[in-house]
Symmetry: C2
Subunit: 205 residues, 2 copies
DNA sequence: ACCTGAACACCGTTCAAGT
DNA sequence: ACCTGAACACCGTTCAAGT
């Protein structure tokens, strides 16, 4: 095959192919991407460095196009809730990508933008500077955990078990996994908001 | 090679080999386990079903030998903190195992025992039954996220960046990744404890 | 019952060769 | 500059064959 007049590939096309494979199968590979794109496996390396690079590009993709919400006129509680929920929603949109994301260092600017906005909101709220990173990190843990939960095949919560009476009772009227993951996130977020309120009001936190 | 008088392998030996490979390299494979144990790759299948099975066995290993702490005479706040911290400590003992754990359904009884104990403590505290699973799940997210953080190569928090002034300020006096991960967990846990206190005291949560 | 060797289908990455 | 085909070292799983 001669060199085409216009390239057959692009970074965007590769990232799209990878992301759609992850969404539909839970993973991606070079052979499958190449098949999907109608090129040879080796051709991909003209655009990307390696597998990790593609994962970082997928992270960038799902956090791109962030419209900087004007949270300035909102009470900080509402601003924080909005930021945390949007952050989670980006992950929940591609839950099977999350396991690939959590083992890699974040380099993406859009993600850092989320953190920056949360730091600003918490700083404006009056939270002590030493508590800001722990608070943001808590939001991060809640969002990641909640998104990871959506990838689990089926869980032990739903199966009543005589050996775990307290747990079975608490889990008795549980709805779908999606609702449970969201309820846990909202619970954690609300607890965080109230904790920050307390920390701001009194200096003993 | 004839069949040995006593088996060369055992489930325990396989799990030990897998876990030590995970601890030292971040992953495990059948060829490397077989080399470590001095047997052929195929021999492993006499004791385990597949790769996922080994991961579940590793989960069981790190949560085994749980001494049922008598949390009955403690205030529920202290009991919850103790349970949450022990749960996290088990994961932090093998942080590189955590990425392998998070994508699989929990079947392990010892893990369920942790959940059961937390459900009991929260129920005794007077927390509404509908909030018990969200609260336990929050602890789970915090512990998993905090342990996952320890596996990250090196993070963006530490690098000051003019584009993220609020974040850089908040991250200025950060210590090691270990301390940051633990501080975030403790912050989240404290916020959770106070949130449960509020929810118990007033019914408006 | 417990192990080996060989096979199969998969994977990430490199590299010489083509236009 | 952009692509192909072949190569290499790796992987999980199966299975006939040996004792």
């Amino acid at each position: 095959m001669p060199r085409p007049r216009s390239p057959l590939l692009s970074v965007d096309a590769i990232v799209s192919a990878a992301l759609s494979l992850v969404d539909s199968t839970g993973d991606f590979s070079f052979p499958r991407m190449a098949r999907e794109l109608g090129v040879s496996q080796a051709a991909l390396y003209n655009y990307i460095d390696n597998r990790e690079h593609i994962i970082e590009l997928m992270r960038g993709r799902i956090f791109s196009d962030r419209t900087h919400a004007d949270t300035d006129d909102l009470p900080w509680e509402e601003a924080l809730r909005a930021l945390a929920r949007e952050y989670r929603a980006r992950l929940v949109g591609h839950p099977r990508l999350v396991p690939l994301l959590v083992t890699q260092t974040i380099q993406d600017l859009a993600v850092m933008g989320f953190y920056e906005d949360m730091a600003t909101v918490l700083g404006n709220a009056g939270l002590d500077v030493s508590a800001i990173v722990p608070a943001i990190t808590t939001v991060d843990y809640l969002a990641l955990g909640s998104a990871l939960d959506l990838t689990a095949p089926d869980d032990a919560w739903s199966a009543p078990d005589d050996r775990f009476p307290a747990l079975s009772l608490a889990a008795a009227h549980l709805k779908t996994r999606e609702e449970r993951a969201e309820a846990a996130f909202e619970f954690g977020l609300e607890v965080l908001v109230r904790g920050v309120q307390q920390a701001v009001a009194r200096a003993d936190f």
